[in-house]
Amino acid sequence: MGIIVGKDTRVVVQGITGREGSFHTELMLKYGTKIVAGTSPAKGGTTIQGIPVYDTVEEAVQKEKANTSIIFVPAAFAKDAILEALDAGIKTIVVITEGIPVKDTIECIAKAKMENATIIGPNTPGIINPNEKVKVGIMPNHMFSLGIIGIASRSGTLTYEVAWEISKIGFGQSTCLGLGGDPVTGLNFVEVLEMFKDDKETRAVVLIGEIGGNAEELAAKYVEEVKYPKPVVAYVAGRTAPPGKRMGHAGAIIMGRVGTAQTKIEAFKAAGVSVAETPFDIAKILKEKLKG
C-alpha cells in the first residue's frame, strides 16, 4: 500500500537521455522502481541503462504499458512534456524540473484535472514508497526505510533530513512525497492528507511546510474539520526568513493575513496538530504519539 505509487507503477522517464534523467534512472532502478521506458524526441530506438528509449510517450504507453511518468526535461519544454504524458493516458506525472513558468504550470494542472490525472510537482524531489520499493524521484535511496509514516513536504533536502531521522528511530515511511517548491503545484497538503487518511499502512502523517502561500493554514483547517483520524506532526521552516517577494496588494488581498511561519504554526496548533520546534523534534514527537 502507500499512496499514488506502488508495485503496479510502471515508469516512463521523459528526458531520459539528459544528464539528470540518465543519472536518476540508474538510481531509481537500483532502488527497485520498474522503469519500463524512456523518451527523448529524436533518440527513439536507442537504450539507456538497458531501458528502451522512444520518441513519444504514446509508444512507451502502448509498448511498455507505462502508467507513470517522471519528467526531467528543461523548463522551456516541460509543459509540452506534461501535456504529452496526459495525452498518452499517463495518470501520475512527477515533474522534477524546476523553473517552469507559472502560466504553464497552471495550464498543465487544469488539463490534468480534466483527465483525472495527478501531477506531483513541479520542482519536486518526487515520491518514494519504501515498502514496495518504488521511487519516482531523486531523493537519496539510503535515507528511507520500510515503515508507517506518511510524509508530505514542500521542501527537498529538509525532507531527507526528516525522513532520515524517522528511519533512524525505526518507524520508516509508508510514502514520502514532495509537493514541489513552486508557488503552484499539482498537489497540496489537504489532498495528500486525504489520501493518507485512507491508507492502511500509514499510521501518522508528517507535514513539512514553509513560509509563503496558505497551504499549511488550509491543511490545519482540514485536519480540524474532518477530525483527522491519525496523528499529524508539522514543521514549518522560515521563522527567521525574510518575508518572500510581496505580490503587491493583491497577494495580501487574496490570502488575508497568512503566509508567515507564525500564522502557519498557530493554525496548526489551533487545529490540534503537533508542531515541531526543529526538524529533529519531529521524530521525537512521533515516538511519543505512536508509543504503545
Binding site: 502560466k103 527537498g156 522560515g238 525574510p242 503587491g248 493583491a250 526543529t278
Partner: protein, 376 residues
Amino acid sequence: MKLFEFEAKNIFQKYGIPTPKGKVVTTPKDAESAAKEIGKPVVLKSQILVAGRGKAGGIKPASNPEEAYQIASKMLGSLIKGLRVESLLVEEKLDIVDEYYASVTVDRSARSYVVLASTEGGVDIEEVAEKSPEKIVRLNVDPLYGFAEFHARKIVKKLGFGGKDLRTFSNIIYSLYKITMDYDAELVESNPLVKISDGSFVAADARIIINDDALFRHKEFSERAFLEYGEREAEARRHGLSYVDLTGNIGCLVNGAGLAMATMDLIKTFGGEPANFLDIGGGARAEIIKEGVKILLSKPDVKVVLVNILGGITRCDEVARGILEALRETGVKRPLIVRLVGTREEEGRKILEDAGINVFKDVEEAVREAVKTVRG
C-alpha cells in the same frame, strides 16, 4: 522581476489603459523641463523597485518647474529603503475624484489567475480586504476557458458601476488580464486606479511583476534583470544562487531552500542570528559553491560561515573543493563550520580535514558550534 513604474505604465498605455502625462528624468534640469512641458503641478516619483516608497518619502509634489528642480535635486541619488534613486517619473498631478483598485495575480491555492477589483482603492486596500471583504470583487479565471471581456463586465457590474464607467472600467480590467498573459506576469496591479474630474479613468499607479521563471520568453527584459536586488543579492543571482541579506552575523550556505530556512531557524533557536539566506540549489558544482562562499566572506558582518550540506544530487567533494577555492581566492580568514553528509561524504570530509577544517555530521551540533563561535 519587478518592472519600474514607468515601464509598467508604458505597457499599460500600449494596452489602452490611460496613464498620467509624464516623463522619466535622471537630472534636476530634466525634471524642471518635464514639469514645464506638462504645464501644471506635478508629482515626482522615485523609480525604485520596492513597495511603500510613498511613506518613505519617495513621492513628492511640486507646484511649479522650479520646485520640481529643487525636489529632484534632493531625491535623485538619495537612498530610499536601501535603494539608490537613479531616476524620477515626473507626472501631472491628477485631479482625483475617486480611487479604485484593480489587479490580476496568481492564486496559489486555486491554481489559477485571479482578477480583483474594488471601489475602495488606495493605500488602505489591504485593510478593506480584511474588514469589508465584500467590497472587493474577485473572479478566478478557469485556465482552460480563459477570461473574456464579459467576465470583466461582470466584475465591474458587481462593483455597482453602470453606463460609461462600466465600459471603461471593464476595458481596463480586461487589458490588465491581457498584460498578465502576454508578459507572463505574476502581478499586474493599478492602485489607485483613479477617476479624474472629467470622468475618465487613469492608472495613477502601475505595478507589474514578471514571473522570473518565464523571463526566457521575454528577452527584452533580460538586460535589466536583478535591478530590484541589493548588490550581494544581484551578484548571487548572476550565479544562479538564491540569496537574501539579513542582519545577523552567522553566514549560511545550504543546499535546498527548506533546509536553508530550517538551518536559520535553528541558529535562532540556539541563540544566534543568521546573516543571510543562501540556497545553492541542487547539484551545484565547486565553481558555484566558491562564488557562494565568496559572497558570504565579502560581508563584513559575517563572523562565522556555516555550511550545511545534505548531499543528494549535490556532491560533498564538489562542495569541499568550492569552499577551499573561495578561501584561497579571497584570503579572508573567518571561522568556518561545515556539516557535510550524503553523496561522496567521505571524499568531501577528507578534502576539508586535510585543509584543517573540522567537519560535522549532525546539523544541530554544527549550528551550536557556530553560535558558540560568534559568542566568542
